[in-house]
């Protein structure tokens, strides 16, 4: 692995206890070895971007973090707890601390926007801390600038609006970590930029840490504190955008050239 990390940046962002720790993670689907020993650490208030080509296993990687995909080998710890060793109840509890923004937004299409936000709240009433449900929903929608869409159905929303509502649904349980799966894919540049700014705003206001999966270099450049290039199932290179963009390694150079040319 090529590591270019500047120690000053590292110490200013990182604390000794990572929120997420993946070590030597391997995952295969039949003869397709997707992850071959992946290592990732995410620290509080940090934005780590994982870059990789389509089909490189980026989505599998973040699904391993919430137990949606079972790993074959390695360590996956979230908030100090081992995900593969958890019972269902423990896993459900830890999942409330981890928000997940899906690539296609994954709004429940038989429910209104209000009901989409109500759904996680009602299931985890203990996290409302005595606050009024309606106030929390409106607050979450205000954070993404869509309070007027409260009674609309997902089918009535544009792609960018759906992504923002999904983000509001993710935020409503006030997670410590947010996982973004291709947050800007399929969006026009203006809407993509709005989503990027929203992600930064959320991090500032809620002090969350984020792991962002993308192949959008502009998104990666603006959002990331640190970037990991996922290639051949391992974290091939790691560092800040500036550092990685100046690496002379032919694979990294080729990767940057290919992604930027899109």
């Amino acid at each position: 692995m090529i590591s270019t990390q500047n120690e000053n940046i590292k110490s200013s962002i990182q604390s000794p206890q990572p929120l997420i720790r993946m070590k030597g993670v391997k995952k295969s689907f039949g003869s397709n070895h997707v992850l071959r020993g992946m290592n990732v650490e995410l620290y509080p208030r940090e934005n780590v971007v994982i870059l990789g080509k389509s089909g490189s296993g980026k989505s599998v990687l973040i699904k391993c973090l919430v137990g949606l995909v079972e790993i074959d080998e390695g360590i996956v710890e979230v908030l100090g707890k081992s995900i593969p060793d958890m019972q269902q109840e423990e896993l459900d509890a830890i999942r409330t601390e981890v928000g997940f923004l899906f690539q296609g937004s994954a709004l429940y299409d038989s429910m209104t926007v209000r009901e989409n936000l109500q759904f996680p709240l009602r299931r985890h009433a203990e996290r409302m801390k005595g606050q009024d449900e309606n106030t929390l929903i409106i607050e979450a929608l205000k954070n993404v600038g869509l309070e007027y869409a409260i009674d609309l159905m997902p089918a009535e929303l544009s792609g960018g609006m759906k992504r923002r509502i999904a983000l509001a649904r993710t935020l409503i349980l006030q997670p410590k970590i947010i996982l973004y799966d291709e947050p800007t894919s399929g969006l026009d540049p203006i809407t993509a930029n709005e989503i990027i700014q929203l992600i930064l705003k959320i991090q500032r206001e809620f002090d969350t840490a984020a792991l962002i999966i993308t192949h959008d270099m502009d998104c990666a450049r603006v959002i990331s504190n640190r970037m990991i290039i996922l290639q051949d199932g391992i974290n091939y290179a790691e560092g800040t955008y500036e550092e990685l963009s100046h690496i002379q390694d032919p694979k990294v150079k080729a990767f940057f050239k290919e992604v930027q040319s899109r």
Binding site: A93, V98, F100, F102, Y108, D109, F119, R169
Partner: protein
Amino acid sequence: MIALPKGLQSYLNETGNIAAFAIRFFRQAFKKPFEFKELLRQCYLIGYKSLFLVIATGFIMGLVLTLQVRPTMIEFGAVSYMPQMVGIAIVREIGPVVTALICAGKIGSGIGAELGSMKVTEQIDAMEVSGTNPFKYLVVTRIWACTLMLPLLIIAADAIGLFGSFLIETTKGNVSLTLYFNQVFDALSFGDLLPATFKSFFFGFAIGLVGCYKGYTSGKGTEGVGRAANTAVVVASLLLFVLDFLAVLVADIIYEI
């Protein structure tokens, strides 16, 4: 070791997977927390929203059956037995099977397509990462709703089918409503009603189980959703005939004892 033909292998695999899905249902169906609100919503969608279709088909079934059978009954001089004959035929066999087939088409494909599309658009994953058990919320409630609603739909279809039959009888033979239904109920015993009602619960369970299984395990993409909806109807319909045969066989053995 003898290698089984590929078609047989996949048939056995599918049967095993459906059985495992059913076991998973029974493991979770009686475990807290219960999703009563979603169960009620599904009962409304599956029961109430299918009522018109079931009533319409039941009514036509009664009309057609009477029109078709009446000439033969006249030929044998047994036209006065029409209410008894139609009553037994509808309550014992035609009502439950036809209604269940209609429901397999409407409800089974609907569940298959809905869950399949939820799977493809990652809504099921989203539910899971929000700390909700999607199997319990989506599958258990739908199977329960089908199991509980189908007997009620079948009773409605039977009743309206008998009424349809009465309309033909009264038009052609001048029979009063009281006389017609008295004759129907005189001909029916608990031995007719009980197995028919009992098997309708199984029919509902089979429709719900197959629809949920096909949707919940559907492949990726729109093709997967289409296939889930389609195979849900085919497999459920086939399973209904197998269950019907078994129910008739068991009832027959019980009668003999």
